[in-house]
């Protein structure tokens, strides 16, 4: 048997790393150190999240554990409605499992707040947040935006040239796209629901009556459009920027285009639950989500950074250069149930 050889460089590196983390620890402001120490006593916490892909959720947890060693970050990644259903079941059976609840369906939060299920907390790092996103935080501090993404026009670049691609949402109504458009279903996807509300707000319901003449293909989730474009079954889509760019990163012939009448901004808050088993770790996680460490992980998978001064991954435009639009929270809450019915009248499903 040979003795394991320690390379001197490795040893040096280890010392540097240890010193680095100690330095980082020493750098912490008093409030952060206090939270961290309290969180360490709680040992671990669980996030119910619908925000990211499984890999990204794992990467965020890893980054958290690296920044705050000794606090274990668990996550259950699923779709928004499944996450909500599970949380509801937990509450009914009086089991506190989740510390953080991160849904993509904004209507979950006012409801949970009304029921007194959320904990009030004003993160210190809120000052880092992109100003235009601050308006979507809860004014009473029960939930804050920790993820943001765009819905844009996406197309298969092997079938459509950039010149010919639709430039705005109404271009999708052009008869030249007949049988070539792919969209999701508002009853199955919060993204699509919000998009339908936005289109109705901008162009009236006649937008969808005209769109129906173009025989769009209706999938379930907004991500189904990525599959349809890749399969060349459809050429253009109202789709998700992040998933499309992720698939493009692998080499798939996809591209996104920011419509001149505005990309739809989707914001997704997170909240600490009132009965959180690890309240301090929860607060620390909220702080972490508004730090550059988290933002750098997020932009790698093409999510938008919610904090200032973090450049987007190559291929995406920085948020301040994109025209974004979003219906008001009231329009969304009132509009989604209404457009689901209208959608079914117009498209038959």
């Amino acid at each position: 048997m040979t003795r394991p050889n320690f390379h001197p460089c490795a040893a040096l590196l280890a010392i540097l790393l240890a010193a680095g983390s100690a330095a980082a620890h020493a750098d912490m402001p008093a409030w952060e150190k206090e939270l961290y120490d309290a969180a360490k006593k709680e040992k671990e916490f669980t996030v119910y999240t619908a925000h990211y892909s499984t890999e990204e959720a794992a990467n965020l947890c890893n980054a958290f554990e690296k920044k705050y060693p000794g606090v274990k970050c668990n996550f259950v990644r699923t779709t928004a409605q499944v996450a909500f259903q599970r949380l509801q079941q937990d509450m009914q059976s009086k089991q506190a499992v989740a510390t953080i609840f991160s849904s993509t369906d904004v209507s979950h939060y006012p409801e949970l707040k009304k029921r007194g299920a959320l904990m009030q907390y004003q993160p210190h790092n809120l000052v880092n947040m992109v100003d235009s996103l601050k308006q979507y935080n809860d004014k009473d501090g029960y939930y804050d935006v920790t993820a943001a993404a765009l819905m844009t026009i996406c197309y298969n670049s092997s079938l459509v040239s950039e010149k010919d691609a639709p430039k705005n949402w109404t271009d999708l109504l052009d008869p030249k796209w007949k049988g070539k458009v792919s969209i999701g279903h508002p009853a199955f996807s919060g993204y699509v629901g919000t998009w339908v509300v936005l289109m109705q707000k901008l162009y009236g319901w006649s937008y969808f009556e005209k769109l129906e003449k173009n025989q769009p293909q209706i999938g379930r989730s907004v991500n189904d459009t990525v599959t349809m474009l890749n399969a060349k079954e459809r050429w253009v889509a109202a789709g998700p920027e992040a998933t499309t760019l992720l698939s493009r990163d692998k080499g798939n012939p996809l591209a996104v285009l920011y419509p001149t009448d505005g990309s739809l901004l989707m914001v997704s808050p997170s909240a600490i639950l009132k009965n959180a088993p690890s309240p301090n770790a929860g607060k620390l996680y909220m702080e972490f989500m508004m730090s550059k460490d988290a933002a750098e992980v997020q932009v790698k998978s093409h999510a938008l950074a919610v904090v200032k001064g973090v450049a987007p991954a190559p291929g995406a435009k920085p948020l301040e250069q994109i025209k974004v639009v979003r219906p008001t929270e009231e329009e969304i809450a009132k509009g989604i149930p209404e457009v689901k019915e209208k959608f079914r009248d117009t498209f038959g499903v």
Binding site: R77, S93, T227, K232, S247, N252, G348
Partner: protein, 583 residues
């Protein structure tokens, strides 16, 4: 087939008190039956009852009919119900056309390449239906499907004839992934029939075809009916494929409608109410099945010996092989090509090309991703445990019902209860489980047992249909012989029934194990951080539009499961064709 009862019959000891006398005459086995019934009540009645309660509750828990009103007052909701019934009946019928000839070919004829066909059927069964559906979108998508492009290239026509986004397409895809039920059911029934009856018909002058249609086929009718019901129920409870194919085809089925009740604000009560008539349909189907089969005898396995001989088909064996291969091509080979292409591609949207090939997806799935590894282990452990429990329980119940140990009426109720879980769509059933197992005395949430019990309950119907068909085909005279000779019921079961059932049980194990490895709808609500399973991971990948990883995990699942099944049969001392091992 010859049965030898080797166990010496115990001499009855002499003097006993009156109580002892009575105790001796009590059938001790009844405790086992009572236990089995109790377990059934716990596993089935508990969640179903809670579901029934929920369907009559409003948000505050007060009694209401409002859920039923909102579930059935819309024409749309009724249309979806109608579509589901059409889908169920059509898919089950197509499964008869696919599965019965193949079962006959593999069980009774000298058709060549049986091993290949069997592996293809096994593979078909393992592919998660939604992965198969995505494969079929690539094959028969109306605009860019490979088959359509091929058709256009060959004929010069303007557009291809295939459209997977239609009821026909959906029926075809559902049938492709459900016909293995039909195949295994019918094959295990055929395996039990000795050639004597067929030979008798031959001697009396009937030709091969006539013998098969008038002797063999009627004898396996209970198996065909059982599988028909199973496929029908599976088809109406399926979510993945309808979500992919029905929505673009612009129609709804029960499950896509049901999913909408879970959109915010979730209306669990309405969902429960909407699922209730499916229970009614199940009752009706069982009643029909009993009407059709009750007046005839289907016992094929009696105490007299019998031998099975393969029917020599001559040149027809090639026609039969062609048919089997055609079905396997539809269900397995073609979708598998698509899945392999995606799993081995850097970017599947680029299609076939050498610089697009990579092993990275597979490597990542198998070696780098710890989540996939632990989930794979969990999947197989849970599915294996659940299969064993389900088959044990189902056998007990089937035995109780068929030997009328509890009276006819109770037997009917037991049979219905055993089959009921299948018809409640998994997503709704999961709510019942959650309600049942997160409160004392059964605090199982967060443990692997909640998943295992859910799988047991969910696939109990499959285990039951199979055990039921198997036990029905064994004549009670075999056990009576043991009992007359003084053996207990247990002796009869252990020494006579079990050895005869071994082969059917191997089939039943596959039928429960495989769906349990791909079960999604209950798992997604019941898994927790430490009990991840593959089906949930696969669903996430499809939700994330990550088709390369989806296909890789699917491919790994298919390979591991096929390998496990083959190794399992080797260990059990039989070859993978389920042929009788030489004794």
């Amino acid at each position: 087939m010859s049965i030898t009862v080797t166990k010496p019959i115990r001499a009855v000891p002499g003097a006993f008190s009156g109580l002892g006398q009575r105790w001796r005459h009590v059938d001790k086995s009844s405790w086992v039956w009572l236990l089995a019934i109790a377990l059934l009540l716990l596993l089935v009645i508990n969640p179903l009852l809670r579901l029934l309660v929920v369907s009559f509750q409003d948000a505050n828990g007060a009694f209401t009919f409002a859920n039923y009103v909102s579930a059935y007052s819309r024409v749309r909701h009724l249309e979806a119900l109608g579509n589901s019934l059409l889908l169920g009946v059509s898919a089950a019928t197509l499964c008869v056309a696919f599965g019965v000839p193949m079962a006959w070919a593999l069980s009774r004829t000298d058709m060549p390449c049986k091993g290949l066909v069997w592996v293809a059927i096994l593979g078909t069964f393992i592919i998660p239906p939604y992965l198969g559906a995505v494969g079929w979108i690539l094959l028969a998508g109306p605009n860019a499907g490979w088959l359509n492009r091929l058709f256009i290239a060959l004929t010069g026509a303007g557009s291809g004839p295939f459209n997977i986004y239609s009821m026909t397409g959906l029926v075809m895809v559902v049938a492709c992934y459900s016909f293995p039920y039909m195949f295994v059911f019918v094959k295990s029934a055929l395996d039990m029939i000795s050639s004597e009856m067929e030979e008798a018909a031959n001697i009396l002058g009937a030709g091969g075809l006539r013998t098969s249609l008038s002797i063999t086929l009627p004898l396996v009718l209970p198996a065909i009916l059982g599988a028909f019901i199973l496929v029908f129920l599976e088809a109406i409870a399926l979510f993945g494929s309808p979500a992919l194919l029905a929505l673009p085809g612009r129609f709804h089925v029960v499950t896509t409608q049901l999913w909408q009740f879970f959109e915010f604000p979730p209306r669990v009560g309405v969902a429960a109410a909407y699922a209730m008539p499916l229970l009614g349909i199940t009752v009706l189907l069982f009643w029909l099945q009993r009407r059709i089969t009750s007046r005839k005898g289907y016992v094929a396995l009696t105490g007299k010996g019998g031998e099975r001989r393969m029917i020599a088909l001559g040149r027809w064996k090639w026609a039969l092989l062609a048919y089997c291969m055609a079905v396997c091509t539809l269900s397995f080979f073609m979708p598998m090509v698509v899945i392999c292409q995606a799993a081995l591609a850097k970017a599947w949207g680029r299609g076939f090309s050498f610089d697009n090939l990579t092993l990275q997806n597979l490597y990542f799935t198998i070696f780098e991703n710890e989540l996939t590894r632990t989930a794979t282990l969990h999947t197989f452990v849970y599915a294996g445990t659940a299969s064993l429990v389900a088959i044990g329980l189902a056998l007990c119940i089937a035995y109780i019902v068929n030997r009328q140990l509890v009276g006819n009426r109770v037997g009917n109720v037991l049979a219905f209860l055993t089959m009921a879980p299948f018809v409640i769509p998994g997503i709704v059933l999961a709510i019942g489980f959650y309600a049942a197992y997160t409160q004392p005395p059964l605090l199982l949430y967060g443990t692997s047992w909640i998943l295992i019990l859910a799988f047991v309950t969910r696939f109990l119907p499959i285990a039951y249909s199979n055990s039921n068909a198997a036990i029905r085909s064994i004549h009670p005279e075999l056990e009576d012989a043991v009992r007359i000779l003084g053996g207990t019921r247990f002796t009869a079961i252990r020494q006579v029934v079990m050895p005869l059932l071994k082969r059917s049980l191997a089939g039943a194990f596959i039928l429960v194990f495989i769906p349990a490895t791909r079960e999604l709808s209950t798992a997604i609500f019941l898994y927790s951080i430490n009990t991840q399973v593959l089906s949930v991971l696969l669903f996430d990948k499809s939700d994330e539009g990550n088709f390369e990883m989806l296909a890789s995990i699917g491919l790994v699942l298919v390979f591991i499961t096929v390998a496990l099944v083959l190794i399992g049969f080797r260990l059990m001392g039989r070859d993978f064709m389920l042929r009788r091992s030489p004794t």
